[in-house]
């Protein structure tokens, strides 16, 4: 751990109707894995929301993040700020909104 490493925290609401289902999870993990920083995600809307690894698709599915839930994305490492911003933006924009994501 160097002194340059910092933790960033962003909170974002799930905007899309289908919630954080498989395809958005894959997009999230794919993006998170491009950063060196550790990524921890919590669904703060659920009581006792557990901390999961934002780079693990299986763990991300445990968040059960339905539309309207708030995710706390905490990043820690050399590119923490860029990671937190990019991931928050992905969630905010509804994961690029697939045309069929409502019916999937």
């Amino acid at each position: 751990m160097s002194d340059a490493e910092t933790t960033y925290v962003r909170e974002v609401e799930i905007p899309n109707k289908a919630g954080l289902h498989a395809r958005p999870v894959m997009q999230f993990v794919d993006l998170a894995s491009r950063f060196k920083s550790q990524v921890v995600v919590i669904n703060v809307t659920r009581a006792g929301g557990e901390r999961v690894d934002g780079k693990s698709a299986m763990q991300m599915m445990l968040l059960e993040a339905t539309k309207g839930c708030t995710l706390r994305i905490a990043t820690d490492g050399p590119d923490a700020q860029a990671a937190a911003d990019a991931l928050a933006e992905l969630v905010c924009h509804g994961f690029g909104v697939h045309p069929e994501s409502a019916s999937e």
């Binding site: 498989a22 698709a57 069929e100 019916s103």
Partner: protein
């Protein structure tokens, strides 16, 4: 929701014959119909929709596990089944590894939240290395059914 209530025991296949993704999806869908979990007339629709879903993004979550799924109007009640492949199937998984355990999940069209709850239940089990290993080693349908009851009875992690 219990895993044993979600997973339709009679349609579980302990030794998948199909060796490719689309074949596995068809084999599991036909088993669900054969054992009365879905209507026979919906088999083609479900197979097509599930493959289309898979093409829009793999459900191979890594570590030998895939969860092909679809939300469709022809599905009346959420239902899932499990297929075990001894040879491994290419699902274009996240980690490129072959898939040995396939959990197929069918949900009604507008069951967004129930669908996520079911996925949570499935991955609560599959994220554990022990359960993945047991599933992969289960050579009979009964062994898989037993394992699911065991998961339900185990204290949640």
């Amino acid at each position: 929701m219990k895993l044993s209530e979600l997973i339709h025991g009679p349609s579980i296949i302990a030794d998948l014959q199909a060796t490719d993704r689309n074949g596995v999806i068809r084999e599991l869908t036909e088993s669900l119909a054969e054992h009365g979990a879905i209507q026979q007339e919906h088999v083609e629709t479900v197979v097509r929709a599930t493959i289309a879903r898979e093409k829009s993004g793999s459900t191979g979550f890594g570590k030998g596990v895939a969860v092909p799924h679809v939300k469709h109007a022809c599905v009346e009640k959420m239902v899932a089944t499990i297929g075990r492949s001894s040879h491994g199937v290419d699902f274009a998984a996240l980690d490129r590894s072959p898939v040995y355990t396939v959990v197929m999940l069918l949900s009604p069209q507008d069951a967004q939240d129930d669908h996520l709850a079911a996925m949570e239940k499935v991955f609560r089990c599959l994220q554990r290395e022990t359960y993945r290993r047991f599933l992969r080693q289960s050579e009979t349908r009964e062994a898989i059914v037993d394992l699911i009851s065991e998961v339900d009875d185990a204290p949640s992690s």
